[in-house]
C-alpha cells in the first residue's frame, strides 16, 4: 500500500484510540456545564486546550466524545450495509433470472434517489438517535455493495474452481458459501473503506440537521449547528468540529483509495 494510505490509517487509529480512551487520561468531562468559563478561546493557560463552547463545556472533550459516536456509527452502518449488500449481491449474481432483475431494479432505484433525502426520510420515521442514523445510512448504502458484489459473482461463478466444485457434487448453498463468498469479501471490505469517508459526512449531516444522537450527547455535526449562532464571536465552537469531520473523512478517503489502488479494481472486480 502507498505511504499516504499507511499514514492515514495510523492517523485514524490514533483518532479512534484517543476517542475511546479519552475518559482515562483527559481531565475534562464532555457534558459538564461551567458557567464561569463560557466561550473561552483555545489556550494552554486556562486548561481548555481547544477552548470551551457556549455552555462552558470543554471542546476537546466533546470532540473526542463526538468522535466515538461519529466513527462508531459510520463503522456499524458500513458493516450493516456490507452484510446486506453482500447477501443481496451473492443471491442476485448466483441465481440470476427474475430474482436478479427484481433485486437490481431495487438497487437502481436507491442509487438513483438523492441519498441524503432518503436518509432524512428514514431518520424522521424512526425516533432520532444513533441507531436511527445507522439504519438510515445502511438502508441507502447496501445498494452499492450489492451492485459491486453481483458483478463480481457473475465472473467468479464461471471460474474453473466453481465448475470443479460442482463436478464433485457440491450443492448450490455450499458453492456460494465456501467458494464464491470468500472471493467477494476482500472486494466488499475495500468498498467499505472507500465508502466510510462518505458515511462520516452523512452521519455529520444528519446530526447537523438534529436527527442524530440527541443532547447532551456530543456529535460533530450537532456541535457545528450549535456553534453557528456564535460564529463571529467564538468561531472555534463551529470550526473545530468541522475540522475534525474533514480530517477524519479525508483520512478514510485516502486510505480507501490506497486500498483500492493496491488491491481490487472496484470497477472490474479484478486484481
Amino acid at each position: 500500500m502507498a505511504l499516504k494510505g499507511k499514514v492515514s490509517g495510523i492517523v485514524l487509529i490514533l483518532i479512534m484510540a484517543l476517542s475511546v480512551l479519552a475518559p482515562l487520561f483527559y481531565p475534562h468531562s464532555p457534558s459538564r456545564v461551567d458557567l464561569n468559563s463560557l466561550k473561552e478561546a483555545p489556550s494552554f493557560l486556562t486548561g481548555h486546550i481547544l477552548g470551551t463552547d457556549q455552555e462552558g463545556r470543554d471542546i476537546l472533550a466533546r470532540l473526542l466524545a463526538g468522535g466515538k459516536v461519529s466513527i462508531g456509527v459510520s463503522f456499524l452502518a458500513a458493516f450493516f450495509a456490507m452484510t446486506v449488500g453482500l447477501s443481496v449481491g451473492l443471491v442476485s449474481g448466483y441465481f440470476g433470472g427474475k430474482v436478479d432483475v427484481a433485486l437490481m431494479a431495487a438497487v437502481d432505484l436507491i442509487l438513483a434517489f438523492p441519498s441524503l433525502l432518503l436518509a432524512i426520510g428514514v431518520s424522521v420515521v424512526l425516533p432520532p438517535g444513533t441507531l436511527t442514523v445507522m439504519l438510515a445510512i445502511a438502508s441507502v448504502g447496501w445498494a452499492s455493495f450489492a451492485r459491486l458484489v453481483r458483478g463480481h459473482v457473475l465472473s467468479v461463478r464461471e471460474a474453473q474452481f466453481v465448475d470443479a466444485a460442482r463436478a464433485i457434487g457440491a450443492s448450490g448453498p455450499r458453492i456460494l458459501w465456501a467458494h464464491i463468498l470468500p472471493q467477494c469479501i476482500p472486494l466488499a471490505l475495500t468498498l467499505m473503506a472507500v465508502k466510510l469517508g462518505g458515511y462520516i459526512i452523512t452521519e455529520a449531516s444528519l446530526s447537523f440537521l438534529g436527527l442524530g444522537a440527541q443532547p447532551p450527547n456530543a456529535t460533530w455535526g450537532a456541535m457545528i449547528s450549535q456553534g453557528i449562532a456564535y460564529i463571529y464571536a467564538a468561531p472555534w465552537i463551529a470550526v473545530l468540529p468541522g475540522l475534525a469531520i474533514a480530517l477524519t473523512a479525508f483520512c478514510f478517503n485516502v486510505l480507501g483509495e490506497a486500498l483500492a489502488d493496491s488491491g481490487y479494481d472496484l470497477k472490474t472486480g479484478k486484481f
Binding site: I120, A204, I228, V239, G242, A246, A249, F250
Partner: protein
C-alpha cells in the same frame, strides 16, 4: 418519429415511477410517530379541537382512502395546502423551485469547467507533483461537508471581509456564496472522474495515431482526448444531479436560501405531510427529467449510442 416513441415510452414509465414514489412517501409519512394535528395546536389543546383538526385535514379516515384522495388531488393539478401555513403547496413550490434551480445551475456552471479542467490537467501531468497536489485537493473537496465549507466561506467573505451578505435570497450577491459552497464537492468528484476518463482515453490507439500523424499536442488534447472524455463526464453530471439535491438541502438551510430543499426539511421537521409529499414528488420528477436529458445529450455527443433508435 422514433424519438417521439422513445419520449412517450419514457413518459409512461415516469408516471408509474412517480405514482410508486408517492405511494412509498405517503406510507412513510403516515407511519411517522408524530401527529400532525398535535404538531399544529400543541400538546395542551383540548381533545375536541384535536379531533376537529384531524377531521379537517382528513387524518381520521382509512389510509387507502387518504391516498386515493391525494392522487385525485394530483390529477386535478393540485397538491393540497400546507398544514402549518395553510398556503397551497404547489404555489409555494412554484415560487421556491426557481430559486433552487438557480442555485443548482449556478453551482453546475462553476463546478463543471473547474472540475473537468482540474481533472484534465491532473491527467496530462500524470505521475508528477502537480498530479499529486491536484488529486489531494480533490480528496479534500469530497471530505469537507458543505455545511462546514459554507460556514467557513460565510465567516471569511461576509463577516470578516464584509464583501457579500451572509444569508438571504436574491440576486447574484446572495447567490454567489451558496453556489460556490454547493459547487465544491461536485467539482472535486468531477475532477476525479475526469482524471480517470482522460487517462483511459490517453492510452487508446487513436490518440497514438493522432500523435504519429504529427498533430500538435494542443490539438490532440483538445480534439481527440477532451472531446471523447466529455461523454462519460456528462453521464456523471446527470447522476451527480442527485448530489446537488442533497447539497441543496443543507446549503439552503445554512444560507437561508428560499428553495425547495429548505422547504422540504422544514416540512419534515413540522410533520407537514402535504409539503413533504409535494417536495419529494417534484424532486424525483426533476431527477428523472435530468437523466432523460442526459440520455438525449449522450446521443448528440456520441453517435455510437442510439438510445431511441434501437429496435
Amino acid at each position: 418519429m422514433r424519438f417521439a416513441v422513445y419520449l412517450i415510452k419514457k413518459l409512461i414509465i415516469t408516471i408509474f415511477l412517480l405514482l410508486g414514489i408517492t405511494f412509498i412517501t405517503f406510507s412513510l409519512t403516515r407511519a411517522l410517530p408524530g401527529d400532525p394535528a398535535l404538531a399544529l395546536v400543541g400538546q395542551r389543546a383540548s381533545p375536541d379541537v384535536i379531533a376537529a383538526i384531524r377531521k379537517q385535514i382528513g387524518a381520521d379516515r382509512p389510509f387507502i382512502v387518504q391516498y386515493l384522495d391525494y392522487v385525485k388531488l394530483l390529477s386535478r393539478g393540485q397538491m393540497g395546502r400546507s398544514y402549518s401555513t395553510r398556503k397551497e403547496v404547489l404555489d409555494e413550490i412554484k415560487t421556491k423551485f426557481p430559486n433552487t434551480l438557480k442555485l443548482a445551475l449556478a453551482a453546475m456552471l462553476l463546478s463543471v469547467p473547474f472540475g473537468a479542467g482540474l481533472g484534465f490537467w491532473a491527467a496530462i501531468k500524470r505521475g508528477t507533483r502537480t498530479d499529486t497536489l491536484l488529486s489531494s485537493i480533490s480528496i479534500v473537496g469530497i471530505s469537507v461537508p458543505v455545511f462546514f465549507s459554507g460556514i467557513l466561506l460565510m465567516l471569511l467573505v461576509s463577516l470578516r471581509l464584509k464583501l457579500l451578505p451572509p444569508s438571504g435570497t436574491g440576486g447574484l450577491r446572495f447567490l454567489l456564496l451558496p453556489a460556490v459552497t454547493l459547487a465544491l464537492p461536485s467539482a472535486a468528484t468531477l475532477a476525479r472522474v475526469a482524471r480517470t476518463m482522460v487517462l483511459d482515453i490517453m492510452d487508446m490507439p487513436f490518440v497514438k495515431t493522432a500523435r504519429a500523424k504529427g498533430i500538435g499536442e494542443w490539438r490532440v488534447n483538445a480534439v481527440h482526448i477532451l472531446r471523447n472524455a466529455l461523454i462519460p463526464i456528462v453521464t456523471v453530471m446527470g447522476l451527480d444531479f442527485g448530489s446537488y439535491l442533497n447539497g441543496a438541502v443543507l446549503t439552503e438551510t445554512i444560507f437561508g436560501w428560499d428553495g425547495i430543499g429548505r422547504y422540504a426539511v422544514d416540512g419534515i421537521m413540522r410533520r407537514d405531510y402535504p409539503v413533504v409529499l409535494g417536495t419529494i414528488l417534484v424532486g424525483t420528477a426533476v431527477f428523472i427529467i435530468v437523466n432523460m436529458v442526459v440520455d438525449i445529450a449522450y446521443h448528440a455527443l456520441d453517435p455510437r449510442v442510439r438510445v431511441f433508435n434501437k429496435k
